[in-house]
Symmetry: C2
């Protein structure tokens, strides 16, 4: 993840991947397993989900905890940084609704 010319772009780069923001918002509600996230986000493929999760982990936004059991079990949760940015995502959510309202007219 590279630095943008302006910090706003840096932020966008962290968040623009398909569904990344939504994943964080769901994890804000509490720790979730891979399968649960997959069900909460019906419009994303496994490929993208695991890719986004990995990137979010590398960015330090989420924690990944794998249990070496059979069948495997993996839990995802927010890091402190993840908690710090979630209010911003919430603000963006509100802003998004503003746009959606406008579009309906």
């Amino acid at each position: 993840m590279e630095k943008g010319y302006c910090p706003v772009d840096t932020f966008i780069n962290f968040v623009k991947g398909k569904r990344k923001a939504t994943i964080v918002l769901h994890l804000k509600q509490g720790t979730k397993r891979y399968k649960e996230l997959s069900q909460l986000l019906p419009d994303i493929s496994d490929r993208m989900l695991s890719k986004n999760l990995k990137e979010l982990e590398e960015a330090g936004i989420i924690n990944r905890k794998a249990y070496p059991t059979i069948p495997p079990k993996v839990e995802y949760s927010l890091t402190e940084l993840g908690g710090q940015i979630s209010p911003i995502l919430k603000a963006m959510l509100k802003g998004g609704r503003l746009f959606e309202k406008r579009m309906e007219e």
Copy 2:
């Protein structure tokens, strides 16, 4: 501009175009001419700048006022909606700096 599955994505769609957010932040400082924006954003081509300006105008975020003089003169400014979302962009800017600080370590 289509609606996202989650409003956060709607918001991102408005803002993720290269430099769109930065344009809004500059216009927040006051009305600017095309040339001025072009100089404030040295890393964006004319093609992208005019494309982004047009999209922001269509989204209702900025106003475009052209004076039919020679040489031509066009001024861009924020709409009320543009003013409403700029605090969110500022929050994203702060968040971006958080990320950048982390990356330096």
